[in-house]
């Protein structure tokens, strides 16, 4: 039951009516709807999720008692082990065999039986952040399990984020029964949901077969094709994942809840640091607040800062999946961050700092960094490190003329233009909204109609899924 599937749309419409009418029952309605939503997925292990929620909730309350603070560590270990078991057991077993030749007898049986529960990476991070926030005193533990359950399981963000913090969501849930959801909220929610649908159905789903066809070529890819594979995957993953977030935020607004932003036109970043402030923002801040700062951040000297950055990015890579390609991808981003930090020291020469302030430098930085990020996606999506290295080698040797004259290049350029348009649309949303309201209503209605029919046209059924569900 994914957001843009007909089943979800009917599920949501059925939920929304009583949700809007029965204000006092909203929390219970959500609690039940979340459980139903999760259980409706074949990989939705509701019992496991419920048990982990109950245990974490119990431990959080226990650790607030004097002399019981240590149970915090039980909460952390339990959650990490739960994630590690489902996500990394096979990875560990495979590598144990690869590096030592030692094979555990149960390896094959485990291989067949372990299925990654849906959303486990996301909800585990939320449990951990809640444990840490309460321990640090950043968040007051809620006394209501229903509220806690709704916080971690709220269906719009349950299976692919945004990764929310207790302090962000629980205060909103406290006010839910009195929250007035206006017609404007519904309209804005529908608008964001529609933006998400367009990105998913009209862009990502149409790019998906192109990406597959290119990456399936494997070692037969030429340098130019490798660039095309990387470019198209860049836009595919962005449009797929950010579409999910847009829909999630739109659904949240329709239910009187504001989720955190997860994307801010990441391919318009001029540096790795900026990229991670624009890409999967809620994961980046989780890694920053609970790993990087936890390790000491920049407080323990320059070398330690670089080490912390590398560790944080490697964990970020590993979080995406139990494959060395993800680890390398994280590592490459860690290195890019280190290099960027090192390059900042050049700012001590004023003329360099001045150049960096210039608009043309910014433009060049965006173009260059977009290509660097595009290259890193090769490690993210390639079936093996060997394939990624092979593609990298070919990409380095590709001739720019061939890239520009490739039949897919106009598509890539258009996708980048759409990315810029989206940035402008978001940046000037209010102004555009004001102008839009002055457009004669028949014209506005006709535009809505064309968008709706376009979505229906592209919504051909079959598989409804998002790439980030696998993480």
């Amino acid at each position: 039951m994914f957001f843009y599937s007909p089943n979800f749309i009917v599920f949501f419409l059925i939920l929304l009516v009583p949700y809007l009418l029965l204000k006092k029952q909203r929390l219970w309605l959500l609690a039940a709807a979340n459980a139903l939503f999760y259980a409706a997925h074949p990989e939705g292990y509701l019992v496991l999720f419920g048990v982990m929620a109950a245990v974490t909730f119990g431990l959080v309350h226990l650790m607030t008692l004097p002399r019981w603070r240590w149970v915090f560590w039980i909460g952390i270990v339990l959650n990490v082990l739960n994630l590690a078991f489902f996500k990394y057991t096979l990875f560990l077993l495979d590598n144990l065999k690869l590096w030592t030749g030692f094979q555990l007898a149960a390896a094959s049986s485990l291989a067949e039986s372990i299925v990654l529960p849906l959303g486990i990476s996301f909800y585990t991070f939320e449990f951990i952040s809640y444990l840490i926030d309460v321990r640090r005193g950043d968040s007051k533990p809620t006394r209501s399990f229903v509220k806690f359950w709704v916080f971690v399981s709220m269906f719009p963000h349950l299976i692919a984020g945004p990764i929310m913090r207790g302090e962000e969501l629980i205060p909103q849930l406290d006010k839910l029964a009195d929250k007035r959801i206006t017609w404007n909220d519904i309209r804005y929610g529908v608008y964001l949901f529609a933006i998400g649908m367009i990105k998913k159905v009209i862009i990502a789903d149409q790019l998906s077969p192109i990406v597959k066809e290119l990456f399936d070529k494997g070692s037969a890819l030429t340098g130019t094709e490798s660039w095309m594979a990387a470019y198209t995957f860049s836009f595919y993953i962005y449009n797929d994942f950010s579409a999910y977030t847009d829909m999630a935020i739109g659904l949240g607004i329709m239910m009187g809840v504001r989720f955190a932003d997860n994307f801010k036109s990441p391919y318009l970043s001029g540096s790795p640091t900026e990229f991670w402030r624009r890409w999967h923002i809620t994961l980046s801040r989780w890694i920053r607040d609970y790993i990087y700062i936890g390790l000491g951040g920049n407080r323990k000297g320059t070398l330690r800062l670089y080490f912390n950055l590398m560790i944080a990015m490697l964990i970020s890579g590993l979080w995406h999946g139990a494959m060395w390609t993800f680890v390398v991808w994280g590592g490459v981003h860690g290195l890019l961050q280190v290099i960027h930090r090192l390059s900042l020291s050049l700012n001590r020469w004023r003329w360099i700092a001045a150049i960096r302030e210039h608009g043309i430098y910014r433009l060049i930085a965006i173009i260059v960094f977009f290509h660097i990020v595009t290259w890193t996606w090769v490690f993210f999506h390639a079936s093996s490190i060997d394939m990624a290295l092979d593609m990298t080698w070919k990409m380095v040797h590709a001739h720019p003329d061939n890239i520009v004259s490739h039949p897919l290049f106009p598509l890539v350029a258009s996708l980048f233009a759409i990315h810029v348009i989206e940035f402008l649309l978001r940046k000037y949303e209010e102004q555009i909204g004001r102008v839009w309201r002055h457009v004669p209503f028949p014209l506005r209605s006709a535009v809505y109609l064309i968008v709706t029919l376009s979505l229906i046209y592209y919504l051909q059924g079959g598989k409804y899924e998002f790439i980030y569900f696998q993480f």
């Binding site: 089943n7 009917v10 506005r444 229906i456």
Partner: protein, 320 residues
């Protein structure tokens, strides 16, 4: 928003719920209804005494002109309502659409096969969606398809999107029919397919067809109930009912016997019991007089030469 809903509703009524839209591609599962309608509109309903109800097998094999000639009757007295890919539900709904205007009908030949009464995957059948109202949708609703069926009931633009989106693609590929339905229709029902199916006379094709027919074979639910409702209606009207299984090639029969003997037996038992219940005659026509290469265009459809033989035999046995 209100303007949008008004426009959408107008488009639903004027375009997506209008059969003329689908008539543009009259070869599609839904478009064929427009061609059938065209043919019926040109027929004199008061003269139709024999109707044929079935799927593409009977559409190809039982040609009204051949039947009439063999039975020594007026061709206008026979109308073939058979539709391509027809299943019991579609066949019954097609009959219901025209039943009120068929005052003179005295006999009905219902051509059946195993495929028609298999309820599996009914909700994804565009012909089902074309006809189905809320009641029928609720009857086949499950946890997998409730969204499709509910939204499809609200909006035909959504429900039949695979049909009209293919029409748009065909338009851009320039593969839509060149001649409109008003020029291609023929009297007595839909036109027969006459071209040989590529590889249609091979074992692999026959097996693939059989696999398709018997996929998750389910003889309960809406398809069988539709057949029963059809028999009930005709019986109540005092129409003489003949249920026929018309000849398929040995290639196909062998594939079915080899892979799905139990399912086929269950189907035969079901049809026999329904025939008995509604006073209908049931016959499985042998294929002795037909040869694979000369009389079939694929494993289970006859070609024009085969149609001549089958029509003659049907006329001789049941229309005289």
């Amino acid at each position: 928003m209100i303007g949008f809903f008004v426009l959408f509703a107008a488009l639903e009524i004027a375009v997506f719920r209008n059969p003329d839209l689908y008539a543009i591609e009259y070869r599609s599962a839904v478009g064929q209804f427009a061609e059938l309608d065209q043919s019926f509109r040109h027929a004199d309903a008061s003269r139709i005494t024999t109707i044929i109800l079935g799927d593409s097998q009977s559409k190809d094999a039982l040609r009204p002109n051949l039947l009439a000639e063999a039975a020594g009757r007026d061709a206008d007295s026979i109308f073939n309502f058979s539709i391509s890919g027809g299943k019991a539900y579609d066949i019954y709904q097609t009959y219901l659409k025209y039943a009120d205007r068929l005052h003179a009908v005295r006999e009905a030949i219902i051509v059946v096969n195993e495929h028609q009464i298999n309820t599996y995957n009914i909700a994804n059948d565009m012909k089902f969606r074309y006809y189905a109202g809320l009641r029928d949708r609720l009857r086949v609703l499950d946890t997998e398809n409730y969204g499709e069926l509910a939204l499809g009931w609200l909006s035909k633009a959504f429900d039949l999107r695979s049909v009209w989106s293919k029409m748009i693609q065909s338009h851009f590929k320039n593969t839509l029919p060149k001649r409109p339905v008003t020029e291609v229709w023929q009297p007595g029902g839909l036109r027969a397919e006459t071209q040989n199916e590529p590889d249609g006379l091979t074992v692999a094709y026959a097996e693939a067809r059989a696999d398709g027919w018997f996929a998750q074979y389910n003889l309960t639910g809406l398809q069988v109930e539709s057949l029963e409702a059809l028999l009930d209606d005709l019986h109540d009207r005092g129409v003489r009912i003949v249920i026929l299984q018309i000849p398929r090639s040995d290639l196909f029969e062998e594939a079915v016997i080899r892979k799905y003997p139990a399912e086929q037996q269950a189907y035969l038992d079901k049809i026999r019991s329904l025939a008995q219940q509604y006073g209908a005659e049931f016959a499985v026509m042998p294929n002795d007089s037909l040869s694979l290469k000369e009389h079939f265009r694929d494993a289970n459809h006859v070609n024009p030469a085969g149609a001549a033989i089958v029509s003659r035999e049907v006329a001789r046995q049941w229309l005289s």
